[in-house]
Symmetry: C2
Subunit: 386 residues, 2 copies
């Protein structure tokens, strides 16, 4: 185990009906809010309307920034920041999933800046302050509700980059499984893959002697798998609850505390794919992450034996580490496939001629990547088609 | 899973040598500190002296409250509060284990009060504010470094009661496994039993559908058991690290989030024992907790099957739930015994004639208890002698 710092001050309100706290909690931090939201489903379901009522009842004035995209755009961030500055808003409320929450975080620090906001993502400049953020999470997936991660897509440059500031921790996050009931099957599966992918990045970073961290990671993965029945009954609130808490725990810092602190390579590669093809992040991970794991397993299979045994009950017997390890990764890929997720780049419309560019751009991520271009290319080619 | 709130803003600095951060971190919150510490070992080992130097280097003035007892006394709290008030101190630094940290927390809110401090423990009055607390943890056990728990013993009334305030979360806690190297074998084992006991209270509270919480609890227990080799090589820093992080995670709110929120009965009963006999809390738990589990298992053995299988690899086969469950609890008791811990009340000098009074007083705990007096008596009698 390595030395580490762990700090996570986000207050979680978890449970069916907890959205009712939105107004009162918001009022503790601000009186003039920007309400960031998607258009479409949440509007139809009345979730946005419920949020409006709750803010009004607590005397919180608000302006809405509607229609934030999946893979949220820099242009939405700029628009939101402009509204905050012009109207002296003092808190941002995100009603949505990771895209909306990330957009809210970026608006939070963009509102204190008059320069090119993209500088904070290319790491040319550092943001100095952020507006307080409150969250109502409407899908179990990214864990953004309880961390500082903020991933934004710049369509102009076709880049999707992340940044992290301590002031981006949401002040509070409401995790209300009832709001997750209407997430469609495909997006539910994407969230499940995303959750598993988050813990696997740290799990396989090569750091030794992290037994408790490993058990927590395995607990997250097993919880997701044991609740996969959600895909055959989307309104099951018990399963929604378990998936929601698993997604939040997966990326709230706990799994990574004391690990090697390496880059999230599978995520970095996937970001290039979704920056250019605009697919759901979880779907991209279902393709890229097993491919990345196959590649790593061939180099150092030891930890994969533990993974195969504890997650998929694959007995080692007389098999080699490599054989067991590859069997474990194959089981993971089959699991993703059984959930209806894509497992090849071809399926999502990637042209073979693009692989070189995707590999090249992956290595330019400002946050860094462990693999070199050729290794990324090997990973991408191995998951291009079955 | 039940609805819950989770909030834990303590900043953790974990790793060998991390004590070096003490001065700078303290200076962020205050300039005039009360340094709370035990006498004896830490003084001899030079840990207190190191802390003094670090505070001085960062320009933090301090007054020392030395000699805080195991099972810390109300009298120490009163003394510390008096020093804080008289000298206008603005932060409290605890250098020690759970006793010292709990004492520091109590001083923190006693310093704002002029009445009878014991009122806050009998729950007659509520404390309104607390001084910031910083912690250097010197033993893996109570988890007090990352929670609001504060357990104080009133020798006058022979009561040992707990209280919890959000402002008692330490601002920062330094977990430096190098400082744990010199904890003697017996106290190390006590800490291990304490850690396991903390997660078992919630694990067996009867709440259903807590798969992730269960995996985290089991992860804590398995980590402790897998690192039991520490007792044969006390200076092993890898094992010290794993035990330290397990102890902190065991009682930082994560395991209990979404569970039934029942009272910690085994702890409440043990508090009566250690209030009157002044034994190490972990030793008392090694006696009382298995006895309490045997009693519960006889009433509802279902969850015990999971415990026996996942922790001790006991196969169910054709055995009944009750048989497997009891086997699991027996395995736990044997584990404690193998670590050199007592497993009967007789061993620690309890007179049989005292059982009735211990049972009676357990039911008077201001925090509440699930069992009635007769049930507590059954538990106490079952662990009186082997």
């Amino acid at each position: 185990m390595n030395s580490f710092q762990f700090y996570n001050p986000t207050k979680i309100f978890f449970g069916n009906g907890e959205i009712s706290r939105l107004g009162k909690e918001t009022a503790k931090y601000g009186k003039k809010a920007l309400m960031v939201e998607t258009r479409g489903t949440l509007e139809k379901l009345g979730i946005n309307e419920r949020a409006r009522q709750l803010l009004e009842e607590s005397g919180v004035e608000f302006i809405e920034l509607s229609g934030v995209e999946p893979n949220p755009r820099l242009s939405s961030v700029e628009k939101g920041a402009e509204i905050c500055k012009k109207n002296g808003l003092d808190i941002i409320i995100a009603i949505g999933g990771g895209s909306v929450i990330d957009c809210a975080k970026a608006i939070g620090f963009a509102a204190f800046d008059d320069g090119d906001i993209w500088d904070f993502f290319t790491l040319k400049r550092k943001a100095k302050n952020g507006l307080p953020i409150g969250v109502v999470s409407t899908v179990a997936a990214t864990g953004s509700e309880m961390n500082t991660n903020c991933v934004i897509t710049n369509k102009r440059t076709q880049q999707k980059y992340a940044t992290h500031y301590e002031f981006s921790f949401p002040k509070f996050a409401i995790l209300d499984p009832e709001l997750h009931k209407t997430v469609p099957k495909y997006l539910t599966a994407c969230g499940m893959a995303d959750t598993i992918s988050h813990v696997l990045e740290g799990y396989f970073d090569g750091c030794e002697n992290t037994p408790l961290q490993d058990r927590i990671a395995e607990g997250v993965i097993l919880t997701v798998i044991e609740n996969e029945g959600i895909l055959d009954g989307l309104e099951n609130l018990i399963k929604r609850s378990n998936l929601s808490w698993a997604a939040t725990i997966a990326l709230n810092g706990l799994n990574d505390a004391g690990r090697g602190g390496k880059f999230y390579d599978a995520h970095t590669i996937e970001h290039e794919v979704s920056a250019k093809y605009d697919i759901a992040h979880g779907a991209g991970l279902a393709i890229v992450h097993p491919a990345w794991l196959f590649n790593l397993c061939k180099k150092s299979p030891e930890k994969f034996v533990q993974f195969a045994e504890r997650i998929f009950k694959i007995k080692k017997g007389i098999k080699s580490d490599l054989e067991v390890g590859l069997e474990g990764v194959e089981a993971l890929r089959n699991k993703f496939k059984s959930w209806g997720l894509p497992i090849t780049l071809k399926e999502i419309g990637v042209e073979k001629s693009m692989l070189d560019r995707l590999a090249e751009d992956s290595t330019k991520s400002p946050e860094g990547i462990e693999l070199d271009k050729n290794e990324v290319l090997v990973v991408l080619e191995s998951c291009y088609a079955k």
